[in-house]
Every structure is written in structure tokens, then in C-alpha cells.
Subunit: 431 residues, 2 copies
């Protein structure tokens, strides 16, 4: 397939001398799953233009709208769509023990397959082109994402190191769109033996490890009681982060832990929607940036947010940092946009999806600037972070395939069928 | 015009015994600018059904989607669309003095007319059917809203009490969609003489007064230095609130002031997006609710938010309250939905727009439940607040007229023309 996008504003998210490359008018060519050209149109480029394909399968007039890399949702539990709005406005402990865990105990791999497909539809509406997923049945989750054409990196959360290793070997390379990383659910849900075994696997495969990390104050205090150390310091002492990785949430971290994160190249994956709704707290994003720790952004699962919307998360990352620091200049929108795109790609081990450039994967989105919330065009980057919304997502392309365009899904299954499956599961498991 | 909406889920927002009336399947009839019927369809209702009109001008199959009252944006400065994303990520003082004020000084009434029209388009995309606006040129603002068919209540912000009185008399009753309330910009921008004169007008007309109130800590401290009292206490001591009214923001208020607000029936209009982005603080919503002070919700202007999106605001109202109180059970989503609809109507003096019932104004919206972020349907009210988005707004009807439907505006002017006018103003005033 040869697809030409023309008459587009283009935000490549490349950096030049520490600055974002400026938005320019031009075109992007896609050949199969890759970007083959990013630059000026024929009028300006003239003889410098690469050779055109014999024919275009499709030429899309972008009407001055914005092409940019897709968003990367760097922490989610897709199968939790079932639990959306099931148990809100209640204390965290009750929420988990009385509502979430009992329903999860009844979910089958087939249920999670269907519920993950529902999540994929939602990701597409928000311009999310890859997710970092952690949930109960990695095999059916990989099938669900593959079936929809969605890129997904899964992280292990098994209580068994041998199962983790077996999945790591088998699910990596299963398909071009699916990969699998080492991980544990969290320090507070893992035995020391499991943690040590996963650290051994990290050494064996020279591989990064991701886990829930320092989400609540209680979790940190309990880790200190159990192990005499804060969570990041403790896991690092086991060698778990010797090949990188990172943590989801990272709300309560010490300056010493931030230094470890910098030294080991760990990513702080922030989840502000979830941390807000569950009253966990505000992560120290400004401190991470000052220390040179790279931040990515995740929605967390739809039971704790309750939506899978990167626009909400981007506003919250900068907004909550401003409140935390009582400084309206804290955490610039440009940094936030980088977190939501480039940093997510790098954290997830998807360096081919970070920016728009020839040879990169064709994972990109078209943003409608001809909507009132984007006008006037004082500053498109700030508009994206401060006033953008899912309503501005015209198109979501993953691996060269347009999966969502002008409100229509092209994922092989009618959305109504996926909704109905979710309702059937709800009726069966919740009533 | 006779319009019939059928096959709808209906959320009237009426209360029965302190509980929201449950969502039910049925239909709504609109005759001209009013709702004429809300109830079951003919199949269930049978002989109890009122007489149908001789013919329907339009019958709309809602396909199980949700009809509910439109959102009321209870504090905004529509004309500030020009300043959207012009000056973000900077300290408040620099933001106001170096960026906002110099541009505002150059804006004409005609500019504000065009910029307010741009804002109306954005309100419609977010299901907002009425706004409480305060800006520089009330005459052209009323014309802009009237021209678009949008309901607007303006609040005085003049430095002249006689001008305020003159506008109060002239702009009220100008059209069925426009009204005007007494007010001042803020304590900190008003002389004592002006404040006393506005309090006199409140007594003369037995009318409520609205103003920016206790938005920042600095403002409260300076008021104490100037007048020996906190702002609400001071303005109340002048008799300004003897006929009700309320304040925008109300972030820093004392328990004594909350008692005054309850006693005088004042509304706290909260603006969480703005308070977040400008690092002002988190308003004590839980305290207002406990004291019985009614809360409404506003977006504030698009320079300080930067969008006019009630879904963002609703999530922030409850989310920030949860963070402030470190309690995931703080400020239930049901309360938030009431703030965004019923309470806004009452604060703005629009009691005919509060709920869906026969005889009420036909100001309502259709919410798409057949979108992934709304599935499964565990709890539609929680879905609206926690996962709803502008993308779910299928239709916005004001005063019986459908002004926005499936992404198309029906306001009499092509949106591209309005965008281009805004860009022309930007080029002229900002460059």
C-alpha cells in the first residue's frame, strides 16, 4: 500500500539542538508499514523530491490539519473496561477488595480478550497507537490486540518466574505488533523470592523490568517495614533495574531514589488521572525533569480513571505539577507532549515509533485544527496539551493501517458487536 | 416546530426524595422553544399519552442514547478565545501584565463579537447550552450570542455603576436568550465607592450580585490589608449579597465566609481547570457541600484553561476534591453532574433550563452511549463524569433549536468563516 498525506501541517517530534523541530507544511508518504517520506510538497521541493510510486493507493488531503506521532499509553490494564464506573467514589481499600478483586476472580481469558478489544476502540478514538498493558491473561490479550491491528507491549505480572520466562520467550516475536517485557505486579504483591527470580531473568536477558512502584504512601511505608528500604531502593538492591526499566505511578519517591532512577535510566510512567481519582497524590514530575529522569504517561486501567484518553492525562500532568509546585510555569506543555509520544515509545522498547521520519513505523495521527477549541492558531503544541480533545482526532494509523477515521472504526469487527460482548460479560459477572 | 425524540434513555436531572430520578427509556417532545412531553413511548404509555401534534417536523431515533439537560458554563470570558495558548507556562503576574492586558487593550467591540462567536461553537461541541459571561463589551457580546442562537447571562464588570445600571435595564429583556446581572470584576479591581454603588443597585433591584472572589491567596491577603476583612466578609458587610449572588473561583474561603454564603444563599462557582493551570489552588468543594452551599461549575476564559469543555471541568471538580481531602470517596459524581446542570441554571437565574420536564425550555443534549468510553453501561452517571468527553456529544439543542448535530454546526454562519475572522484578529493584534 502506498498512501500519500498532503497539505498537512507536520509535527515530527524530532529534536534539533534540544528544541522541537518546528511545525511545517508538507506531506508524508507511507509505504506498507513504514514512513517513506516526510517533507515539503512537490511545489517547494521540486527536483529534490524522491521518486513517487507508480500509483498511490490513496491520497489524503489533510486540509492543513496536523500529522503527528500517535500517543503512547505507557501504562494500562485494558481488560478492566468491564469495571469502568462499577465502583467509584469509595475508599481505595473498599474499591479493590469489595468490588474489583471479586469480579476479576471470575474473568476468563476469553472475557479479557473481548474486554481488551473494547479498550482498543477507545485507544483509537484518543489517537493512541501503542499501549503498555499489564493484565491477567497475556495470551488472549496478545490475540485481542493482534486481531485489531493494535500495537501492544505487555508486561509480566505473573506470580511465577518460570511462567514469566516462558511468556517472555514465546510472546516476544509472536507478531510484529506484539511484544512482552519482564515485570512484576508490584513489590507489595510479590514475595522476595519472586522479585529475586525476576531480577535474575533481567540479568539473563539483559532486559529492563517494569512494575507498579510507589503509588501510595501506605505502600511505601509498608515496604520500609518489610524490607527496611523504600520500594525503588529495595528493588534496585536486588539488581532488578540493572538493565533499565521503570515504574508505574512513582508518586512517593525520595531524592535518593530519583538519583537511582537517573543512574539506571529508569522511566517514571505517570498516571495522573488514576492518582487523582483514587486520591493517591501528585507525582513529582518537576523533580524528575530537573534530575533528568525521563517521564512517560499512562492512563492506568479504566476502573481507576475511568477513561483511556491521553488528552486528559496530558492536561493533568502539567496542571497537577503546577498545583503541586504552586507555579504556573511548572512543566512546560512541550515537555508533556514529548512524554506522551517520544518518551512512551522509548520506555516501551519501540524506538521505531517515536517520531515521524523516513524508515520509522507508520504510527501516526491526524489532528483536526479546524475545530473551535484549536482556534486561533497561536500555538499548536500548547493547544494540543491545554485544549485538545478526542474530538480532534480525525485519523489513527498503526503500522501503516488506518484503523480509525472520521469516527469510523476499521478493525475488522463492528463496534456494536464488541459493545454487546462487553454487556454480555457484564450481565454474567456483575448482574 | 414539533420535534419528537424517541428510543432515548432519559436523564431528567429531577430529584425525588433527595435522589436523582432514575434514567428510563422513553421519548421527549419539543414544541417550539419548550418541552411538551417527557415520558414513556406509546407502547408502554398507551392511553395515558398526550395528544400528538398533527404532524412532526422531525422525528429523531435516539438509538438508546442519552437525552439530558445541557451543561451550564457558570463562569467564562468568551472573548478571550483570542488569547488561547498565547501565554502559557508562565507565572500568573507575567501572564496577566505582559501578555493578556496589552492585547486586551487593543480589542474592539467588533473583535469581541467575532471572538465570542468562536467560543459559541466550542460551547456547542461540549453540550453547553447556556453560559455566564463576563467581558469587556456587553452590547456586542449579547449580539454575538443572540446571532448564534445561544443562551447567555452576562455579568457586569464595568468600573462605572451608572453604566452597570444602564446596561442592567437595557440588556435585560433584549431577547429571550439574553439577560444581564449585576456584578463587579473583583474586589481587588474595584474602588470602595464602586462596590457600595453596586450594593445599592442590588438593594434597588432586589437583585443578586456576582464577582470574582477569593481566587488566589494573594488576593485574600491584600483585601485583608486594604479593608481588614477577607473578601466575602468585606463585600457582605457592604450589603452586596443581601439578595444573593455568588462568587467565581472561591478557592480561599474561611469557615465564617462559608457560613455567610450559606446564610445569603450564595453560589460558589468553581473553575478547577483555570485554578489548576494558573496554580491558584484547589477550592474546598467538600466543605461547601457539607455546609449546604450550592456549587456550580465554570470553565473560566480560554486563556486560562485553555478550553471550554465541561467534561474536563466535571472530572476536575471531583478529582481535585479527592486529592485535596486525600479521600477517594470525596464529592460524588452525582453531585458533580447536578452542579454542571441544575445548579448552573439556578445560579444564572435560568430556572426554566434546569431539568427536563414539560413546560421547561428545550435546552438539552444527546449523549452518544454507543462509544467505547461509555461501555459497558455499569453506571451512566458515573460514566458521564469520569469518562465522558466532547466526542460523546451528538446534539446540542437550545431553546428548541438544534444548533449542533453530529459534528455539524447550525448557527447560521460557516465555522470556517468564524475561524478566519479569529485568525485575522490574531494577525492584527498579536502578529
Amino acid at each position: 500500500m502506498n498512501i500519500r498525506f498532503y497539505n498537512a501541517r507536520i509535527l515530527t517530534m524530532e529534536e534539533q539542538g534540544g528544541q522541537l523541530r518546528e511545525i511545517f507544511l508538507g506531506e508524508i508518504w507511507v509505504k506498507d508499514d513504514k514512513i517513506s517520506y516526510v517533507g515539503k510538497g512537490a511545489e517547494e521541493q521540486g527536483a529534490g523530491m524522491p521518486e513517487r510510486p507508480a500509483r498511490w493507493d490513496r491520497e489524503i488531503d489533510c486540509k492543513g490539519n496536523l500529522l503527528m506521532p500517535g500517543f503512547k499509553d505507557a501504562h494500562t490494564h485494558s481488560g478492566m473496561t468491564l469495571l469502568r464506573s462499577l465502583a467509584d467514589d469509595m475508599p481505595l481499600h473498599d474499591w479493590l477488595n469489595k468490588q474489583i478483586f471479586p469480579v476479576e476472580a471470575k474473568m476468563t481469558g476469553e472475557d479479557i480478550y473481548e474486554l481488551s478489544r473494547l479498550a482498543v476502540l477507545e485507544y483509537l478514538t484518543s489517537g493512541i497507537t501503542a499501549v503498555f498493558d499489564m493484565y491477567l491473561t497475556p495470551e488472549t490479550i496478545a490475540d485481542a490486540f493482534d486481531n485489531m491491528g493494535m500495537r501492544c507491549v505487555q508486561v509480566a505480572a505473573s506470580q511465577s518466574a518460570s511462567q514469566t520466562q516462558e511468556r517472555y520467550v514465546r510472546l516476544n516475536g509472536k507478531s510484529p505488533l506484539q511484544s512482552f517485557m519482564l515485570g512484576v505486579h508490584a513489590e507489595y504483591t510479590s514475595s522476595r523470592e519472586l522479585l529475586e527470580a525476576i531480577a535474575d531473568l533481567a540479568h539473563q536477558y539483559k532486559a529492563p523490568v517494569f512494575t507498579h512502584l510507589s503509588e501510595t504512601r501506605q505502600e511505601v511505608e509498608e515496604c520500609k517495614q518489610r524490607h527496611g528500604m523504600t520500594p525503588i531502593a529495595f528493588l534496585d538492591s536486588l539488581g532488578m533495574f540493572d538493565y533499565g526499566g521503570g515504574g508505574y505511578h512513582c508518586v512517593f519517591v525520595t531524592p535518593e531514589e530519583i538519583a537511582v532512577m537517573k543512574e539506571k535510566g529508569l522511566y517514571a510512567v505517570t498516571n495522573p488521572g488514576s492518582n487523582t481519582k483514587l486520591a493517591s497524590g501528585i507525582a513529582p514530575i518537576g523533580d524528575f525533569l530537573k534530575a533528568g529522569v525521563r517521564v512517560a504517561i499512562g492512563t492506568d486501567g479504566p476502573a481507576s480513571n475511568n477513561c483511556l484518553d491521553m488528552f486528559r492525562e496530558m492536561f493533568l500532568v502539567t496542571g497537577l505539577a503546577k498545583l503541586r509546585e504552586m507555579d504556573a510555569a511548572a512543566v512546560d506543555a512541550r515537555e508533556v507532549l514529548k512524554m506522551a509520544t517520544v518518551n512512551g515509545s522509548l520506555a516501551m522498547g519501540l524506538p521505531d515509533t517515536d517520531v515521524l521520519a523516513p524508515g520509522k513505523a507508520a504510527d501516526m495521527i491526524l489532528i483536526d485544527l479546524n475545530q473551535p477549541n484549536m482556534r486561533p492558531l497561536n500555538n499548536i503544541v500548547k493547544n494540543l496539551v491545554y485544549s485538545g480533545s478526542k474530538q480532534n482526532v480525525i485519523m489513527t494509523m498503526i503500522n501503516g493501517a488506518i484503523l480509525y477515521e472520521k469516527g469510523i472504526f476499521h478493525t475488522g469487527t463492528a463496534p456494536e458487536e464488541i459493545y454487546e460482548k462487553a454487556e454480555q460479560i457484564r450481565r454474567r459477572l456483575i448482574g
